[in-house]
Symmetry: C4
Subunit: 251 residues, 4 copies
């Protein structure tokens, strides 16, 4: 394997107006949690695997005694009106050149499969544990932006840059005249954020017309939310020093 | 995109004795400020974009909700006697191999367009806020040096090396028997320097025979100059310790 | 040498059902010690050398005044029932891309030679000096796992990832439908571990049906074992602080 | 320039049994000082230049206002019995892959020119300012070693590895069945060492049968020797603490 390579694992019939959805490791693991949950709940079939010499030179050991290369995997999910190709994975490439190569390889695959819309899921870090976490978007063309704004995605409130595959895929898609958008769940940034992932999936289900039960994720999110808020409270107290009463006591 | 790629964005007629002028991020942002101002004032048309897997693996988000790859852009500016191809950009390549590749790709483009002179704009850091900031040059052949010295560019007063595209373009141009020169505005090095950029543009307009109003840049430069001098004064005071009076007071 | 290259050094007849065994520098040097001992005791013949521009840019000087490139070497060992191709070497490649390239080059060589099973030897670090050090395995398919478990290799008790050639070879072998397994000797991690290497060789001789005297390695292992236990004891004492008596004395 | 490239600068007649001598920046600058002195004194003609995208992405400015790429240069020196191709240069490649590529490119050039012996000059650091600095060798085959030992080069007293072109050239030469040797001048390691360079040239002139006046280098060496010994003395005193007398004085 000299170059990033996609190996098709399972044949499938003609795809119905397919859209790619990518959720790789990144801020708050929002993309990864969302994509994995979708695959689990919607019964995805693995159709392809992505290998790259730009991934770290390691293999993962399983609990049963197996080992396997680091990889990204592509699952086919049958939606109500259109099919989804969902990418999840262990890692992203370690160098800039590697990141571009992996993104281009995925785009080549998408072109071949007739994908006309690339959606990447990411987290947008605000450093706060917001009560109602918003879902932001950043798109590679105005028509797409107008389209998704209409459906409730918030544009123009994010700043800076999107690092890695979540940014490169829609960025490079533009050079191929392909629609590309990064959907970002608002998140603190220091915590794995199931609540944010939940909000992103909810929006995606509306945008792409698929049905999914969020119950299990809601439950998981609620449990974690308590822990996050507890930690945040402790951090806050430590940073603001002891309350006045204590000072009196020390005297 | 496996390699650095130039995508032509707009057709244009035959160019009149074109010269390339490059102003990418570097010392004091002298090159970037100068090139951007020239494009703005002279009404440049974007004719090409440069993309590279050697640029950082990020996309930039715009205020309106758009995203785009990091890139360099080439603008066509119609001068009075000759045409200018002006390069600006977000970044430079992250590795040595990448820097050479980007520079060679730009040179290939220039050869194709009939460019015979490569000018790069940079800053030359002196660590001082000079009253009258000079404009230095360093050229890839003696004839060019003589030519530009005659027109008021100062040669032989700069030392050391020029890092990045500002140096590689004229350096690699020599291997193609193409004229190449780096024009450096004297600058402190710690500040964005509009005054230095102004001086460089003034010289360039004489050298290349184009007209440009410097009023707006002059105004911006004056405002910033005040701030820079104020900061410098404070730094100086801090480094020279408290004034004598204070010492007395401490006693 | 633009790419990793294997240079054949000696012709050999048809190999009998050959298996590759790799012991390169890694945790506790378990693989390296084991592979070198096997070559020494079983009278291996060097049949090939592996060179790579991804190895460090150095040459080694010998005691006699010679110099040579860093390399991996492949030895042919004639077992009772099948032949062994044993890889040892000075180094592993310095980058991820280099590691993949070296592993693929070795796999190409193995395919050509009719190798159907890739065994890599490594150390599995536990941070303890265990009395009876176990021999673990992690395989690239279930059949192989069942096979080797039957013969006493322990599966499913190792966690995390295997870094470098020891992991990549069986990992990449899977993509070629080739059997691959990493045999790991339990080891502390901070010491060169001859005892662990000994245990691995013992298992391998059973698995692959070759005979080897372990006497010399046993002797070496016993000597080193004493030193290791002494150091460990000292470390333990230092970390647990002074004994009670001393505390009394300080009072 | 995608790859390391040699550009021939001047035609020359048939070479008489040519030998390559390389003196690039390294330990004590022994190789660089020696090679530059040889070119200066023996009247070398520059016959080729080596450029590489693996050199740092910088150009050097000259005192007169010129700029040029970083490069290595090859000079032709006419000896009494055989011709010398001497390599000097600003830098070595920044990565392992780059180092191998530059070395292979130089070897290709040598093969074309009929070179049968590669000599690289380096420094061998001992951490001491030896009175009589020896000249060591490390060769890529036994015959060469025997040959050079007879002529007074010391073998078998150096340990460890030779980093960079000084090691790779003779190391890679072996794969081409070409003779290669690194001649190392004994040196402290912290200082530019003209005395060591002098000793190496003296040996080379005997080995390769060329005449060269060492007077100028001797003079330079003597001057620097005084400075080095003075610094060493001061360092020694600082590290051994104040002498007893001083302690009394402080009381």
């Amino acid at each position: 394997m000299e170059k990033t390579t996609i190996i098709e694992k399972k044949k499938h019939g003609k795809l119905r107006n397919p859209v790619m959805v990518t959720g790789l490791p990144g801020i708050g693991l929002v993309g990864q949690v969302a994509a994995k949950y979708m695959i689990k709940k919607m019964g995805g079939t693995k159709v392809a695997e992505v290998y790259s010499p730009h991934f770290p030179h390691q293999v993962l050991m399983s609990k049963k005694g197996g080992l396997r290369l680091l990889k990204n995997s592509i699952y086919l999910l049958k939606g109500k009106v259109r099919d989804l190709l969902v990418v999840i994975g262990d890692v992203q490439a370690v160098s800039s050149v590697g990141q571009y190569e992996v993104a281009e390889t995925i785009l080549d695959y998408c072109s071949k499969k007739g994908v006309s819309l690339m959606i990447t899921i990411g987290g947008y870090s605000t450093g706060k544990v917001a009560e109602n976490r918003r879902v932001f978007g950043s798109a590679n063309n105005k028509r797409l932006m107008a389209d998704f704004r209409e459906k409730g995605i918030i544009f123009g409130e994010t700043r800076g840059s999107i690092v890695g595959v979540a940014g490169l895929l829609p960025g490079l898609a533009a050079l191929r005249k392909m629609d590309g958008i990064c959907i970002m769940g608002e998140t603190h940034g220091n915590y794995v954020d199931h609540t944010s992932a939940r909000n992103v999936i909810e929006k995606l289900s509306e945008l792409l017309g698929f049905e999914i039960s969020l119950d299990e994720l809601d439950k998981e999110a609620k449990g974690r939310e308590k822990v996050i808020r507890k930690i945040e409270k402790e951090v806050e107290q430590q940073m603001s020093g002891p309350p006045k009463k204590d000072i009196t006591y020390i005297r």
